[in-house]
């Protein structure tokens, strides 16, 4: 164990894994709330075009991929806000166009599809020092708003219309969420890889919702689960000599699978039994008055009182009497 930690490339890889594990579920919490669980996958495809472009032009892959993915994310969100993203065909074209363009450009660059695979499924040995610095900066860029604006982003992603009636800049926050998702996707490409990053954004969130109750608790729990599986997957991939992304995602799904029975138990316990409430008034009851009623109903008159809407009925020989002005009504 100490032997791995003394390897510089492993130190960098583990740091990158910690940052990815913290960030992906944090932004993923809002993505899941907005029911855009597959958005991360699509943005990953778009980022591949960025990697291809970087290989073609000889630039560093992460900055180019960030720019391309953010541009893709803003396009997707603008389409959605204009109400035109009902054409999910449009999204499919954007996403698969990105993937195809990436593969094509990397081929032209002479790197071939093999060079892409380290970005698709992650690769521990490729995290350079400058990569790590960039990942650290971007992680901060994502973490500050996801935690600092948590109440606002929660409101916007869980009930957009209500957030609007609270005067929130809903459009701006929605764009912020997808832009941060795009940044997260690209900085995760060294550890989990672009094809599997979406799983790290979604699966820990789903597990956290099973394990704890409440939005903020789930946010923190998802980040803890994400960090755990990211570090575990990175370490495990060193020993098994596999792509870290695959192991990270498999571990996340194992945690989710374990959280399932836990949620079953706790949910059953938490569901407090509810008293049966009175059936709804049908409003059509005919007005039947009792004929001459010498007995004065009241608390402690011996007849059982039953709350009925805004008054009390008294059980009276198998039926109910209600006080009405100077007489009693049959109920």
């Amino acid at each position: 164990m100490t032997e791995i930690l003394s390897l510089p490339f492993m130190q960098r890889a583990l740091l990158a894994a910690v940052l990815t594990g913290l960030i992906a579920p944090a932004i993923g919490t809002y993505i899941v709330q907005r029911r855009l669980s597959l958005l991360g996958d699509g943005l990953g495809h778009v980022a591949i075009a960025g990697v291809g472009l970087a290989l073609l032009t000889g630039q560093a892959p992460i900055p180019v991929a960030v720019v391309v993915a953010v541009a893709g994310a803003v396009t997707v969100e603008m389409l959605r806000q204009l109400g035109k993203a009902s054409g999910d065909v449009g999204l499919a074209i954007l996403f698969y166009g990105g993937l195809a363009a990436g593969v094509l450009m990397s081929g032209i660059a002479g790197a071939g599809a093999g060079a892409l695979s380290q970005y698709l499924f992650g690769s521990l040995v490729t995290v350079s020092r400058s990569d790590l610095i960039l990942v650290g900066v971007l992680a901060l860029v994502v973490l500050v708003p996801t935690l600092g604006l948590a109440p606002q982003l929660f409101a916007v992603s869980s009930d957009e219309e209500f957030a609007r009636t609270q005067g929130q800049p809903v459009r701006l926050y929605n764009i912020l969420i997808v832009v941060l998702a795009a940044v997260t996707v690209t900085l995760a490409m060294r550890t989990v890889g672009l094809l599997l990053v979406s799983a790290l954004m979604v699966v820990p969130v789903a597990a956290a919702q099973n394990l704890v109750r409440g939005f903020y608790a789930a946010l923190v729990c998802a980040m803890a689960v994400g960090t755990l599986v990211a570090v575990g997957g990175a370490l495990g991939s060193y020993y098994t000599d596999t792509a870290p992304g695959a192991l990270i995602v498999v571990l996340a799904i194992v945690v989710f699978a374990l959280s399932w029975p836990i949620s079953m138990v706790t949910r059953r316990r938490r569901m407090a039994p509810e008293l049966p409430e009175l059936p709804e008034e049908d409003g059509g009851a005919p007005h039947v008055t009792t004929e001459g009623h010498p007995h004065q109903h009241g608390p402690g008159c011996g007849h059982v009182g039953v709350t009925h809407g805004d008054h009390t009925d008294f059980l009276h020989e198998g039926h109910r009497h209600a006080v009405h002005a100077d007489h009693y009504d049959e109920h």
């Binding site: 709330q33 600092g148 604006l149 109440p151 606002q152 929660f154 409101a155 869980s158 009930d159 219309e161 209500f162 957030a163 609007r164 009636t165 609270q166 005067g167 929130q168 919702q209 109750r213 409440g214 939005f215 903020y216 789930a218 949910r267 938490r270 569901m271 407090a272 509810e274 409430e277 009175l278 059936p279 709804e280 008034e281 409003g283 059509g284 009851a285 005919p286 007005h287 039947v288 809407g309 805004d310 008054h311 209600a322 006080v323 009405h324 002005a325 100077d326 009504d329």
Partner: protein
Amino acid sequence: MTTPAVQATGVSVELGGLPVLRGITVTVAPGEVVALLGGNGSGKSTLVRTLLGLVPAQHGTIELFGQSIARLRSWARIGYVPQRSPVSQSGAKVKEAVAAGRLARRAPFHPPRSAGREAVARALAAVGLTDRSDHRLSELSGGQQQRALIARALVGDPDLLVLDEPTAGVDLVHQQVVARILSDLVGAGSAVVIVLHEVGNLAGLIDRAVVLREGRIVHDGALGTLGQAHRQGGGHEHEGAPDAPELVRGPVER
């Protein structure tokens, strides 16, 4: 003269090319309780959503507290209770969902203040959900969820409360809670706009009824005899509460 809470003039709305509201002009004064009535598809829900800026109006002007809806700053004065909210599927706790109603009073990147937490506790107490504040919204019954949405609107101490069918499909206990909350609010001088399918036990609170039919106002005035029949002493209505079709037909045939 006091600024009206709501001032809509000549508002027309089209949804998908179909006219839903046609030339609606309506005013709500501070402290007034106005019921919006009408059958299904009469446009009453669309009207409140338009008044809040959630649906764009093709024609006409809407002012809340004297400010145009497009440039409204005083969102903190407005509380909105939708019929349903996707927040109930979010896994959030009741108190977390309710706290969203304080956002108009809260600047970004500022930690929560104790005043906000106290307001959440007060609002939950007002709707009788104090013991449920740590439950998930999805664990509550339909009526309780509806009450939580009312608490979310109350938590910002609104001067204008807009409710979209708060009593549809819920139990009697809940209807009484709604009636009590409304009378407290009105006592404090807030204006209330409430969409109702049937007036039920809220009749006594309503100052004015606006009846819509096919996107037009067909009646704007006292609830009149429709809702008040046979209501004195300790009894309740037995004649059948006035329901929407009756209300809609009444003024039109006159």
